[in-house]
Amino acid sequence: MFNYYLKLALISMRKSPILVFLMVFALAIGVAASMTTITVNYLSSKNPLPHKENNLFAVQLDNWSIEKSWREPDITPFHLTYIDANNLLSLGEKFKHSPIAQMDMPLESTSIDGEKKTFMAQAKSVSHDFFALFDVPFLYGQAWSKEDDKNSANLVVISEKTNNKFFSGANSVGKTLIYGGEVFTIIGVTKKRTFLPKLYATNVFMFAEPEDLYFPFSTQISLGWFNEGKSIYYCQKDKASDTYESLLQSECMWILFWAEFKDKAEKEQYQQFIDNYVSDQKALGRFPRPLDNRLTSIKTWFKYQNVTNKDTQILMWLAILFLCVCLFNTVGLMLAKFTGKSSEVALRRALGASKQSIFYQYLIESLCIGLCGGVLGMLLTFISLEYFKHIYTKLNDQVMTLNIELLLSGLLLSILATLIAGIYPTIKVSRTSACMQLRQK
């Protein structure tokens, strides 16, 4: 029966091509507008590590001055001071956690032959746990070890892109590069992946390009490096002097800190750990504000970072309203089309079709139209996303790329929308009386 209705639907659609085209086109545009904006909004606020939702947390200590909170209404600083990051690392060795700091320096090859390639690398200094924390996939090699962190080893993990640039994609583990004027040995190469928004960053930097390299946080400290220009930092009090030592002793916060727990019990342990630590520090005269140490979930982190762009959200809602207009349009067009068929319907009823059969027949026709609208709509979505990439240069391209999930959702949206639009016309046409029109030819 389904095949029969399908055949009838196709014949019927061929009979009134202009009308069908208008329906499909209006639907497609509505679907495209909605899916484009939904894609951008969805991808830019999707948790890239959904399976770690209950395990991965940002560590926030409230180290601000007593007068008012760091940011209204009651948001505590995102970053830690060096004192606190270092202490948490050394006192909490049994936990899995990592500091993350921005440390961009020039990167150049050590090969004497050929052209010398140098570029400013986007880099983060982290501890060895970082790679497990954020599920960083490796193409070659692996992360450095706990010992390497302790020894402030000159090791780097470079990205696939960097590896391609310097080593044409070959396995470069063991080779060296000059980073910030120092010789570093490559211990691993990471695989390219879509990881947006970047959890271990703040605000718009969550959509920045992926890192070119990672190196040990302890190494950054031992080399006396600090990204004055690039780091986001804020100080509760002025530094004593402008030496590096002074920076390390200061109440300037510039280090992000993330931790992973295997279960709720471990999370509570950690909370206890940081609370005890801060209480101890209070005794030394630090941490003037009341105790407010947070283990912030990914979802809350997104909220703090205002991850969704206001404009793209507004566009999404306007696009959905647009889709509604297209739908009402489709209902009207379907009414016109179906009621034009009332003589054929009356005939079929006379020949023995029940109201239900007529209903199914036209439901399937609606489905066909919906599918066509969906396919054309997703094509248009693809095109408009490319246009979006062209316009929104600041937004990372990966946030405007269709994946299978979204493609299927778009088709489903179109079919569902058409079915909803078609319900009223289909019911109306199935109610056509068997005898009304028969004599009036």
Binding site: M1, I11, S343, R348, G352, A353, Q356, C435
Partner: protein, 229 residues
């Protein structure tokens, strides 16, 4: 076998009640050829609609082959109409976008036959009406007489108990009309009951029985030939 007893039909529009058909009794036996005659507006259409289960009677019992069909729900009445009744209309009412094969196929589809069975029935029916081999033609490509034959094949294909014909030759010229009438009589001789509404006196006289409807009242008479004989 058709049995109608105490059937009447009225319409109420606003405060006005119109009695389309006054209570009547009618029995039609298998193999009958009944002509229905009467002036315009007499209630012929209502009678035909009710006989064909396109409308429900206001009162009365209607039995087809022993089954009460007067007050069935939509699904049931559609099924019975589909299986037991075949329609032939004055204006053919073929679906122009479907070819001959598919047009005859329409009522069979609502019956859930296998495709093999449908094919057999369609070919059989087309042969009976003399249009074998015309499967791929479309209605606009056929003459009026041929279109009506396709309609008759459509009515036959489901092996109905009764064929209802509403002025089947009304839109045909006399030659085609004769051909169609001959076909109907052949089908009737082969065993199918035929109830035919007609304005044509000659056609009425060739039927086995004549039912008159006038001002909503049914009466029956015998055709002249029988009367004379």
């Amino acid at each position: 076998m058709l049995k109608m007893s105490g059937i009447s039909k009225h319409f109420i529009v606003g405060n006005v009640k119109t009695q389309a058909l006054h209570s009547f009794e009618l029995e039609i036996k298998q193999g009958d050829f009944v002509a229905v005659v009467g002036p315009s507006g007499s209630g012929k259409t209502t009678f035909l609609n009710m006989t064909g289960m396109l409308e429900q009677p206001s009162f009365g019992q209607y039995e087809i082959d022993g089954v009460q069909v007067a007050n069935l729900n939509d699904k049931e009445s559609s099924r019975i109409r589909n299986e037991k009744i075949g329609f032939v209309f004055q204006s053919f009412n073929l679906i122009p976008e479907l070819n001959v094969y598919d047009n005859v196929d329409v009522p069979l589809r609502y019956r859930h036959f296998s495709s093999k069975e449908r094919k057999a029935r369609i070919e059989n029916a087309l042969e009976q009406v003399g249009l074998a081999g015309r499967h791929k033609h479309f209605p606009p490509q056929l003459s009026g007489g041929q279109q009506q034959r396709v309609a008759i094949a459509r009515a036959l294909a489901g092996s109905p108990s009764i064929i209802l014909a509403d002025e089947p030759t009304g839109n045909l010229d006399s030659k085609m009309a004769d051909g169609v009438m001959a076909l109907l009589h052949d089908i009737n001789k082969a065993g199918t009951t035929i109830v035919m509404v007609t304005h044509n006196d000659e056609q009425a006289q060739q039927a086995g029985r004549i039912v008159h409807i006038s001002d909503g009242y049914l009466s029956e008479s015998t055709p002249l030939q029988q009367a004379i004989a």
